[in-house]
């Protein structure tokens, strides 16, 4: 982020040197705006897809009437902005018997985790006005993958705090269920991600994408880690659904049993924080899946030019924009898959969930790791170096 932003400002203003804190503030603002807008769109999409799967149309009434007459996919565009305004304006209630400190801390914590996890996610790369191609991320950390997994544990903490501080047995039960679920699914998730780590020989998400683009055994199409580490991809996707508390793994907020689980006592803005964080986390796991298993912002054998010459005008940073388009298209394909799963599977029972995670997914992720180690060794011996 930093070098690109500095270069961009220098080009625009003719040599202005930005202060060191400017890139940080700008990336913070961009990520915040992205979380809010993207969550609004995802909620609309979720309701539309839910409607389609249940043979109805979803929200249709808010927004231009002419669009709604055209098809179900063009109606109800203003539903989530209206809902957001409603949530912002509602009275914020803190029940008398709650533990105030914990009650107020939990939504902040959950949003902090949702925000911090964006740091190492690479969305594109550019070689415009740079000596070597650089990865576009807030900061492409050396330990990106580990950082992402570590930060998600903050979510458990927030949910546990929310459940306990609400001083309500349904909230407490919901919080406990969420904690147990996320904690136990984190282990197969980490092992599923270890396969790609071994294949790439790096923990940085940017490096993972570059290695995938270079290909495995000299074949570019084999490079997407979805192919060599297919089991890992499946295990990761299942764990990702469980980690974000989405159905069929939404026992923490099972309505029939627990009212609304840990968020029962929350209203207005504080509830919106949980809701926003949940959708943001869903998109983040899709972004991680894209970067780790689907080749990130690259397509096999396709390298976009750093600036597009349109004859009368040359578009700079074209590779950045093309990479972003590819990346978000892939990420949204994964989002659609998750939504499809959500609306077609019934909810699991808590003990089934535990058995499934520990006795099935964990051994499966070990098998995946073994396969990846063998493939990486073959690559090392016969093709030299790490894949690529």
């Amino acid at each position: 982020m930093e070098p690109i932003f500095e270069q961009f400002v220098r080009d625009l203003t003719g040599g202005f040197q930005v202060p060191f804190w400017a890139p940080m503030l700008v990336s913070l603002g961009l990520v915040l705006a992205f979380i809010a807008l993207n969550a609004m769109f995802m909620i609309w999409l979720e309701r539309k897809i839910c409607g389609r799967i249940q043979r109805r149309m979803g929200p249709m009434l808010t927004g231009p009437k002419a669009w709604a007459r055209f098809s179900m996919w063009t109606g109800g565009w203003f539903q989530t902005p209206c809902d957001s305004v409603k949530l912002l304006l509602k009275e914020d209630i803190i029940p008398a018997q709650v533990d105030r400190f914990g009650f107020m801390l939990a939504p902040v914590l959950v949003f902090m985790a949702a925000l911090a996890v964006y740091v190492p996610l690479p969305i594109s790369s550019t070689s415009y006005a740079q000596s070597a191609p650089i990865v576009v991320a807030v900061a492409d950390l050396d330990i990106g993958l580990l950082y992402v997994v570590a930060i998600t544990t903050l979510t458990i903490l927030a949910i546990l705090t929310a459940g306990w501080a609400s001083n309500n047995k349904y909230s407490l039960l919901g919080g406990m269920r969420a904690g147990v679920q996320i904690l136990s699914y984190e282990i197969p998730m980490l092992f599923a991600l270890m396969g790609p780590m071994v294949l790439a020989g790096s923990l940085s998400l940017g490096d993972l994408v570059l290695v995938q683009h270079a290909g495995l055994f000299g074949v570019p199409l084999l490079g997407w880690f979805l192919v060599p580490s297919f089991l890992g991809a499946v295990v990761y996707l299942i764990c990702a659904v469980a980690e974000t508390n989405r159905p069929p793994f939404d026992m923490p907020e099972a309505e029939q049993e627990l009212v609304a689980g840990f968020s029962t006592e929350y209203t207005a803005m504080r509830f919106a924080m949980f809701y926003l964080a949940e959708f943001s986390n869903t998109f983040v796991v899709c972004m991680i899946f894209t970067a780790v298993f689907l080749g990130g912002w690259t397509l096999p054998g396709f390298i976009p030019p750093s600036s597009l010459n349109l004859g009368f005008f040359s578009l700079p940073y074209f590779d950045l924009l093309a990479g972003m388009a590819i990346f978000f298209a892939k990420a949204y394909a994964v989002v659609l898959l998750l939504m499809w799963i959500r609306w077609t599977f019934p909810r699991l029972r808590p003990d089934h969930l535990m058995t499934f995670g520990w006795k099935f997914l964990l051994p499966l992720s070990f098998v995946n790791l073994l396969v990846c180690i063998v493939l990486a060794a073959i690559q090392q011996i016969y093709f030299g170096g790490n894949p690529g």
């Binding site: 950390l141 050396d142 330990i143 544990t153 903490l157 546990l160 790096s202 535990m354």
Partner: protein, 191 residues
Amino acid sequence: MIYDPNPVAFWLLAAMVAGCALAVVRARKLFHAGLALVGTLFAVAGLYGLLQAWFLAAVQVLVYAGAIAIMLLFAIMLTHHMMNPDLKSLTTQPWTAAALCLMLLAVPLSSTWQTAPDTTLSPTWTPKCGFQVAEAVPSVEALGFRLLDPFTLPFEMVSVLILVSLIGALVIARRDPTLPEPPEGREEKAP
């Protein structure tokens, strides 16, 4: 080459470590103490990050702030009367504890005071945070090679230790075969 940690960040993190640690022992509610412990562990991870030990920072968050602290909070949530602020703390010998803590503090302090600043790094440079760090960015790769080459034996011994504690937990949790079976229908289901 010298890497200079940002002094503002260092003092903020240090204050957070100390403040949260104080809150752990002084909090009236056990759950708040647990939360404060997470804060301390997080700030320590921040200090590791400030010293560019990224891997250590991530592992600190993953293992301590993530797994261990959450297990602790689980245990606290399962105990009764947790919302009762009149619960007496178990600290019956605060002065003995304070003396022991001061003794512990004396160990790092004495080593810091007795050692002259390492002039091999830079003879003219004065550290802003009170310490200096050589700019040898420790990569995960280097750490992995170290663990598997010169430090293989300690590394493996740690895994044996974990195995021993696992077996120990199993032995403790196992139902005593000499005891009678619990009555039907009261048996605990899987969590």
